[in-house]
Symmetry: C2
Subunit: 406 residues, 2 copies
């Protein structure tokens, strides 16, 4: 069998885990390192898929939990999959929904925003804190070894995901790369509970993989990634990576932890356990500085809501650091958002104009800020890639970070 997802390392740096490569998918290549656009509900928050290529987007990641609830995976399947549904012809991924079932279901409380891999919609907060629903069902998500029963954050209806069901949904959604269904436990839980959760995640990974490989048609057209868990515990993370490395996944995702620093610090140790010839995806982390840390630790692809979330808040990325578009001194600043940026927003519009749009509370302001931020991160990741190919990665990293004020 020829695998639908293949990966070729073009260049491996000798002094770090950093590498450049190409992931081949049924919908074209992803040149790595790559920043993957988040399109949770089959839309990248105000960005038109018509313009994805202009923004340097190579691939996107949608979410099985959200698309299962709205519009339902069957409707997406009828259109020919999540890419066709949203009029995007390039590579696609779907996250399994494991994270969302727990983060939107169990009700971690406000801490949830700290780990959010996806945009937690406003309704989520309502559901989590809606006492009527909480009382009716006791808990919003109930885990057993078979799977998890959860309450929709939309309407309080009861649903059940198992690894097999998640894979079935992801088969219907039809992305090139799907993810195993993982459990996500409250990161403040004691290590024993973390271990138990991790071990369940491993059993679910094996079941996800089996469910995928058994469906010959889908197995031929979609690849599957396992997800390394283990919270903030180095020993668990390494054990998780070792266990998953022995399973026949097409690539690996690294799941989130309590704070991104916890996971970034041990990323290289995790990646050393994973097979070199398989691509590695860091889930939900992707500020500019994280791209360098992740790449140096052997990550090939990143996804993060930060470009569009920051854009909606009026925060933009520049070579000198983040900047609020609402700053009063921008009113007469007729330069582009970032003089070093060549994106369609920076080639077209001034800071003064975008500042005006934010002051006037005009929707176009957040659209343009989101477009620029997306282009900034895809372009940064491409420059990281080129610096690996020509052997100047460490120079580029030092140069970028010396100018970029966090």
């Amino acid at each position: 069998m020829r695998r639908p997802i293949t990966f070729a390392v073009e260049k491996q740096l000798p002094d770090s885990l950093a590498r450049a490569g190409i992931i081949q998918t049924p919908h074209g290549p992803i040149k790595t390192p790559a920043f993957i656009a988040v399109a949770t509900k089959a839309t990248a928050k105000g960005l038109q898929s018509l313009q994805f290529k202009d923004l340097g987007i190579q691939a996107l990641i949608a979410n099985a939990y959200h698309l299962y609830l709205t519009p339902g995976e069957k409707i997406v399947e009828e259109t020919g999959g999540v890419g066709k549904f949203m009029a995007w012809e390039g590579p696609t991924m779907t996250d399994s929904g494991g994270f969302q079932v727990f983060s939107l279901g169990v009700g971690f409380g406000k801490q949830v925003s700290k780990f959010s891999k996806e945009d937690v919609p406003r309704q989520a907060a309502v559901a989590v804190y809606d006492e009527d629903i909480a009382t009716e069902h006791g808990k919003l998500a109930i885990v057993d070894d078979e799977g998890v029963t959860f309450t929709s954050h939309h309407d309080g209806t009861l649903h059940r995901f198992t690894p097999e069901r998640s894979i079935e949904i992801q088969h219907a959604l039809g992305a090139d790369i799907i993810f195993a269904f993982d459990e996500f436990v409250q990161p403040t839980a004691p290590i024993e509970e973390q271990r138990e959760s991790m071990e369940r995640t491993h059993r679910w990974a094996a079941r996800s993989l089996k469910a995928h490989r058994q469906n010959i048609a889908k197995n031929d057209s979609q690849g599957i990634y396992g997800i390394v868990q283990g919270g903030r515990y180095e020993e668990l993370r390494i054990e998780s990576a070792k266990t998953l490395a022995e399973m026949d996944f097409d690539g690996y995702g690294i799941g989130g932890s309590f704070s991104k620093e916890d996971i970034l610090g041990i990323l290289d140790k995790v990646n050393r356990e994973l097979p070199r010839e398989k691509p590695r995806h860091l889930l939900g982390i992707g500020e500019p500085e994280d791209i360098f840390i992740g790449t140096a630790a052997g990550i090939d692809t990143f996804d993060c809501v930060i470009p569009t979330r920051n854009g909606r808040n009026g925060t933009v990325f520049t070579a000198k650091g983040k900047m609020s578009m609402e700053r009063a001194e921008l009113a007469r600043d007729f330069s582009p958002i970032d003089a070093a940026c060549n994106c369609i927003v920076c080639r077209t519009y001034t800071r003064a104009y975008i500042h005006h749009l934010f002051r006037a509370k005009e929707m176009l302001g957040l659209v343009l800020a989101s477009m620029h931020n997306m282009a900034f991160l895809t372009s940064l990741t491409e420059k990281v890639r080129l610096s690996i190919l020509d052997g100047t990665f460490e120079n580029y990293r030092a140069e970028f970070l010396s100018a970029y004020k966090r």
Copy 2:
């Protein structure tokens, strides 16, 4: 002196006032009849100026009142005018702000939305009904023969517009076509009050014209339109048209009334009084059926917020009439919004996808619906133009309206 705005009638139908022509402006031609995009605050509500040409937009109309308050006309002037400010190279107009000073200042109450030529921002309602502000200033707009003193709907600060000041502001904003400063009286007021207001509007028109012609530099690069008023009274409207026709304007705007039916019914009589060789703009009216009525009555250009306002509400135009994108049966409808439409939205996206975006409350839904609606109206108006040129206007009108359910 060669006028910056010239108009050539290409074809005049023999059996109606309908005509096709070309308005030449310093920023290129407007082929008429034309639908002008409303960009009140220098943005067409979520549409990127980058994509205006794709949407068939030939020209836009911004608003002096709104841009005077935010960001201030001086900032727009520094960037090279409202077109440059918003990165649009084609023809531009600015409305004088007369309507907004009154509608956002005096506090007509909820009826205001009936005549709104522009999007009345949500803050307006707050200002109008904010008792603290109302008490402080007694009234929100105070008219004297010289001009009008009004309260900003943003922050309650006091401002004063005179015809001369409105023209000065519009000179700074730098649009190709500016409008005389007009008074707008509560349309339910008795006829005596309407007459008084109209006569003041005529005096202000003469002052606006003088202020414009005295500024040689601007007079060379910007044209000025007078505005016909007179409320819903045919005798006043005809008198207004006759009076303004004798003044040396480069074109004429027809102002709004109590209901658009009032003005549409007497539009041909008004236009017969206006000089044939000057272009005529119908302010703030532009549903599909109005385009036919207005064109038959001799209107050359239209503007209306309806494409973007309807888009934001999820209402789209189709050849069969208006449709709500939230209708449940669209969930599995994989056809474009309008099968007869060739716009970039209809060439790219399905009803099912846009329906999903509205159900999921995703911003992209209203962007795409607004884009389609704008393209629908510019395309309709272009087809009206072509039907005049080839002599099939009445056939096209009958054909369109028989399929289009209001």
